[in-house]
Symmetry: C2
Subunit: 449 residues, 2 copies
């Protein structure tokens, strides 16, 4: 194995350049920018390591599927990634072009570098290194790289149902993983679900002079009042039944949370905040973060928000809400609950548009895959790995794993300040190289467990 690790060190510059090249290719799913080009580029990267590659078309963006056979009768390890990225806005807050992949002080800055291009490329590089040094792989590997993760993996459900045999594996390495403030690699065993909706309020048939505000219904005020019935400053979501199906944490999950280091001061400092919501700290903070659902406002748009004074009564108002869900909340029941709640509160006029809905998913902490990920991490990283019961984020975990009975665990190259989805998204180059090594060793560990 030492030779594999040496190969990775020897080829670090090349692996970094490969990542920069992919980051320089924009792939903004929400805005349909560069998607086909990026899928083709990912397919080419996989072909260059000898994989059998298929571009599986969907009604949206293609899924890149790739396979390299290991020993007959051996295990199969899957890698799930996505090649799409979030929109880069607000552009004025970036210190360098989000698609320049600029290197500064040992970091690579780019939209999508942390989420999820470095993880995707690190796995390709790991497989390449193992093959080049050892001649063949100890397990069959499969790559599934979709192009719609950032827009809710809209077509992945159909892909998964139609291609269960392509996905089938003994364990799937999830798209993400990161280093915490203490330098420990963090592996997550699950994902929150999501319900993403837009609320639309309507007033008169056009914007009006705001002098009419005394007597004309206001779309903006109605949306403000409606939102206020959803969640108050106590952070409790007021949709009846919202918490009914929240599964209590298992003993194993509670233990993982207890063992999970969390440098609250460093986290707060990196965020520039004085305290977390409700002044939470310790176990209640961890539980709220990972095991509780959310109701977040992603955006609110109405009327004139430019410079200077414009006195207008806008006739429409819109907001985007994401609820992050936990097992066993049903996103569709919550959508129904939201409709009933708005109706009951006198906001039957407010329109709900469903954007995305998915269930949460978690893997048993005792699964062999988890053991292999931990064992590999211990061999590569200076600090002991941390396993957490779930990420705070969402993804198609239920689609690819929960529904198909496949265990999953995270591994990746980000860190606590990677600013995924935010301006100046970045990874540290040293983490990237270690991430490649972790996957290379994992190939061997997974063959053993």
């Amino acid at each position: 194995m030492e030779h594999v690790l040496q190969y990775i060190d020897d080829h670090a510059d090349e692996f970094i350049a490969r990542l920069q090249e992919l980051c320089r290719q924009p792939s903004i799913a929400a805005q349909n920018v560069g998607m086909e080009e990026t899928a083709t580029m990912v397919a080419e990267l996989l072909r260059r390591i000898g994989a059998e590659v298929r571009l599986v078309s969907t009604p949206g963006y293609p899924v890149v599927y790739a396979q390299i056979a290991g020993p007959p009768g051996g295990k199969t390890l899957g890698f799930y990634n996505h090649y799409d990225v979030q929109p880069p806005e607000p552009l004025e807050l970036w210190k360098s072009d989000p698609f320049a992949a600029e290197i500064r002080d040992g970091h690579i800055y780019a939209r999508g570098v942390a989420d999820n291009k470095a993880n995707l490329v690190s796995r390709i590089c790991a497989v390449e290194a193992y093959q080049r040094v050892k001649g063949s792989l100890p397990v069959t590997v499969k790559f599934i790289a979709e192009g719609e993760e950032e827009i809710g993996s809209v077509n992945l459900k159909t892909f998964a149902r139609q291609n269960a045999e392509l996905i089938a594996c003994d364990g799937l390495i999830w798209e993400s993983g990161y280093k915490n403030h203490g330098g420990q690699p963090v592996s997550s065993l699950g994902l929150k679900g999501i319900l993403y909706v837009e609320l639309h309020a309507h007033g008169a048939n056009s914007d009006a002079h705001s002098a009419n505000a005394a007597v004309l219904p206001s779309a903006v005020w109605r949306l403000v009042w409606a939102l206020n019935t959803l969640k108050g400053p106590d952070e409790r979501v007021l949709i009846p039944g919202f918490y009914d199906n929240v599964r209590p944490a298992t003993d194993a999950e509670v233990r993982l949370l207890e063992e999970m280091p969390l440098d609250e001061e460093a986290w707060k400092s990196s965020l520039g905040i004085d305290s977390f919501v409700l002044g939470l700290t310790g176990m209640p903070l961890k539980e709220k973060y990972l095991l509780q659902p959310t109701c977040n406002l992603c955006g609110f748009g109405a009327g004139y928000t430019g410079e200077g004074l414009k006195t207008v009564l806008p006739n429409t108002a819109m907001c985007k809400i994401d609820f992050r869900l936990v097992p066993d909340q049903d996103p569709f029941k919550i959508l129904d609950g939201l409709r009933s709640h708005l109706d009951d509160q006198g906001f039957g006029d407010i329109e709900i548009k469903l954007v995305d809905a998915d269930w949460a998913q978690r893997t048993d902490p005792g699964d062999p895959l988890v053991k292999a990920v931990v064992a590999a991490a211990k061999r590569v990283y200076a600090k002991p790995p941390v396993v957490v019961p779930t990420m705070a984020g969402s993804g198609p975990g239920y689609t690819l794993c929960g529904e198909l009975g496949i265990p999953s665990a995270g591994a990746g190259t980000g860190y606590y300040d990677s600013k995924a989805h935010a301006p100046n998204e970045n990874i540290r180059i040293a983490d990237y190289i270690e991430g490649i090594k972790h996957i290379a060793v994992l190939l061997e560990e997974f063959a053993r467990v």
Copy 2:
């Protein structure tokens, strides 16, 4: 006088072209577009009717001041107008370019045509017609055309204090006037005051992945909750003391309101609404519209409002609020009250930025100016004129009239569906020609009263 009216009919095409030309020159004060060019163009229009013109510079946009002397010892009639316009956005809702001044079905469509370019040009044309036919004017006339009305007349206060002798007159015709659904010309005797503020909420030091919403403070939610403490669905403003100084309506004002025709069905139909706020109708609707203050949301901006799914926890949120005030509410006391109220409700972190503040103003319905405006209207218009105690809108009435003891009354060329401040702003050409005639006759009537 018949010859003056005939002259106006004979020169209608030229007067229309003159207005189109001014409308085709953008003059967006909030965005500093075309302001100097427009001031120069207005000055030239005034010079062409023989006025002594001064461009009075201010720290912002110049005030165009002009004067034409009447008989010695005679009365002086002032005209207040503004040459700036509101921003034209949202552009996609215009049926023709907002600066094309397109004529369709007897209407001129342009940003600023109703508010306030047609009124300005109609007064210039009226004075021209009177002079050409009669040789000289029966009163001295003064024109004051500022370039900052749509951004709160920020520099007009200083201009007025430094140039009281320029403004001095026996009556000032206010910038606006319109025809109601019944075809009657409406003259207003006052203006509401205004307090325009921005509220800014701040969260972490940058946008974050919305997975963090379980524990990170949200700027958007805080702004929603703060707004909810300002006004609820009962439309009552909850800032303590907000209504304390609202002056009760005089008997004369109540009578004007009672006499004021209001075709509620036609108004609702033109707005596309089923009912006014709180289901108001009749006198309570009129009183709320004209004699009560407002709290309107002009705009709300936060996070991602583009297409598709972006899961983000925005770190800032902003809204623009305009309060329309009535006599004798003090905008600065209300600003202080807003700060205290937010503090008391636990929103001390929300920043208030003052954009504009001005008092309300009203003229006594018994003033000679009002009599002259009514008498002139009766000679020109087919339908009897309507006098209302105040407009629902705001303007520098206190600055130019209230503070200097000058009576004012409105007269103008708009109509009930002119869509001021909104897409497809327009006037009817027939109203424009009648408006020119009204001002021409008014010159004579005002000399008499």
